[in-house]
């Protein structure tokens, strides 16, 4: 479906948050997206009709719960073109990446001791690797960004060596919006025998993701950034690698046999899913992906890109504004900016007084803030399918008012 301003306005009706917060202009979608009624209902319905522990219950209710859980896994796998057993449920992107950071050393060849990330990583794709490097005595390297806010591919190539064990990078920067050429990077990394990990937290709602086409070994994302519930996340891993990796959490559900002395692990994906999982969350996430498909991924992408283009054009009307964006062709629908001489928290505080919600601060990317010379952080407006041109007009109008107020 092609989305225009009228349709976007109508889409808001699918999201109860807007009914319960009249006049809310929600522009913090990169932090968390809102949830359509169909997702909320799917979670509720599961709890009301089908809830049972999915771990080998032998009664009908448990079988039904298990069936729904398996269906959810299949829908999620299809969405990123993976196999169901390659989908590990976690709490969120952060947990997915931590799972890897703790288990991956056992599959790293002895001659490799470098981890390569980029300067635009969210803390969740930085701190786990920084700490792994400290634990293992590895070297953590950062591929640089260019003045146009894109990744410096030449620098990345220089940093990628035969010693690179892992390259882990954001598909899309949560601050700059920059879409990184992950397929090209995966190809380069493979030629050096490195493991390729993609942080898809920001891209999952905005880009068609095909793990086979990208050629990554692992990919992580969160449900709550793709219209799903919070508390459910995904780690995709190539089957043969997941089979090699040791478990992360130990306990019920992840074993095939336990004696007093030792244990044997269950097959994937269960090997990585110790304890009772967030089954309702998984079902909610699957429903969110169904909702997106129903609205139409291509139409959403086009509309969101149009919103970004419009926002960039309108924001540029503000004298002295500093915009941290590579432009609409290289970015998903978010834009970070600063008003000269006004702290981002003051900007966000004043926008809030007009019911406009944006993010302000370091956006969990402190090293990037240093590079951007934004010690107080940035203001970030991020858009989703339900945002309208009026949302952006209001944002820009109030930003102009704020600038007047602070003169």
């Amino acid at each position: 479906m092609k989305i225009d301003n009228k349709i976007a306005k109508a889409l808001k009706n699918d999201f109860p948050i807007f009914r319960n917060n009249l006049g809310l202009v929600y522009l913090d979608n990169a932090a968390t997206s809102q949830r359509p009624a169909s997702v909320l209902n799917a979670v509720k319905e599961f709890s009301e009709r089908d809830n049972a522990n999915v771990d080998r219950g032998v009664y009908s209710l448990a079988e039904r719960a298990m069936k729904k859980y398996s269906q959810a896994r299949k829908i999620i796998a299809n969405f990123i073109k993976a196999e169901p057993e390659e989908i590990i449920f976690t709490r969120n992107t952060t947990e997915s990446l931590n799972l890897l950071a703790y288990t991956i050393p056992s599959i790293i060849p002895k001659n490799k001791n470098e981890i390569l990330i980029t300067e635009m990583e969210h803390h969740s794709n930085l701190v786990p690797w920084q700490q792994l490097a400290k634990r293992q005595g590895f070297k953590l390297k950062f591929a640089k960004i260019k003045p146009d806010f894109t990744l410096d591919m030449e620098n990345l190539r220089e940093n990628l060596t035969d010693k690179t064990a892992i390259i882990s990078l954001a598909h899309v920067s949560n601050v700059l919006g920059t879409i990184n050429p992950v397929k090209e990077i995966a190809d380069l990394a493979k030629s050096k025998g490195a493991i390729v990990i993609i942080d898809a937290a920001q891209s999952i709602q905005h880009a068609d993701i095909n793990v086979k086409e990208i050629g990554c070994d692992f990919l992580a994302f969160s449900g709550h950034k793709v219209l799903g519930p919070s508390g459910i996340g995904v780690l995709f891993g190539k089957k043969e690698l997941l089979e090699k990796l040791p478990p992360f959490n130990f306990g019920g559900g992840m074993i095939s046999k336990v004696t007093k002395e030792d244990s044997k692990w269950a097959e994937i994906p269960e090997k990585f899913e110790a304890g009772t999982q967030d089954v309702a969350g998984a079902i909610g996430l699957a429903e969110a992906l169904n909702y997106l498909k129903k609205v139409g991924l291509e139409g959403i992408k086009e509309w969101e890109n149009y919103l970004l283009k419009y926002a960039l054009r309108r924001l540029k009307e503000i004298p002295g504004i500093k915009i941290f964006s590579p432009g609409e062709e290289k970015s998903i629908s978010l834009v970070s900016f600063n008003l000269p001489g006004i702290h981002p928290h003051d900007v966000a505080g004043l926008l809030n007084e007009k019911k406009i919600a944006i993010r302000a601060g370091h956006c969990c990317a402190m090293p990037l803030m240093e590079i951007l010379k934004a010690s107080g952080g940035v203001c970030r407006a991020s858009f989703s399918l339900y945002n309208t041109l009026e949302d952006i007009d209001l944002l820009v109008d109030i930003l102009k008012e704020i600038q007047e107020k602070f003169k």
């Binding site: 702290h343 928290h345 505080g349 007009k354 107080g376 107020k405 602070f406």
Partner: protein, 124 residues
């Protein structure tokens, strides 16, 4: 449900004090000084004081931050001038809150108290 637009944190007297701060600058002959920063928002406030006979004779602040932390520093340095050190050490957050004469939202409370922390650090 909808609760209406909150009262502005940035009322006229706050914005005025942000544009024309009280006691902003460097205090020559300061007898003590304290710096506090909030790395999360990049705010950094230094409060300098001249103390004599257990009393704060003069106070100035410097640094950078959001309007609320800078206004808090103006308000606080004005309040502590001429006061006994012991009573300043006992200043509580409620008293700072009252100085603002406007409601500060929960996400911005830290900004409001940053200068007080700098003062207490200086007087330690």
């Amino acid at each position: 449900m909808e609760r209406g637009i909150p009262e502005s944190m940035y009322r006229k007297h706050i914005l005025e004090l942000y544009k024309n701060p009280s006691n902003f600058g460097i205090l020559k002959n300061a007898t003590c000084s304290g710096t506090e920063c909030n790395s999360v928002c990049g705010d950094e406030i230094t409060v300098q004081m001249i103390t004599k006979d257990g009393i704060v004779k003069d106070a100035k602040f410097s640094g950078s931050g959001c309007a609320l932390s800078l206004v808090a520093a103006s308000l606080l340095t004005s309040k502590i001038k001429g006061r006994k050190i012991e009573s300043i050490k006992n200043l509580n957050k409620e008293e700072i809150r009252k100085l603002f004469k406007t409601k500060i939202s929960s996400s911005r409370i830290k900004c409001m108290f940053l200068p007080l922390e700098a003062v207490k650090k200086a007087l330690k």
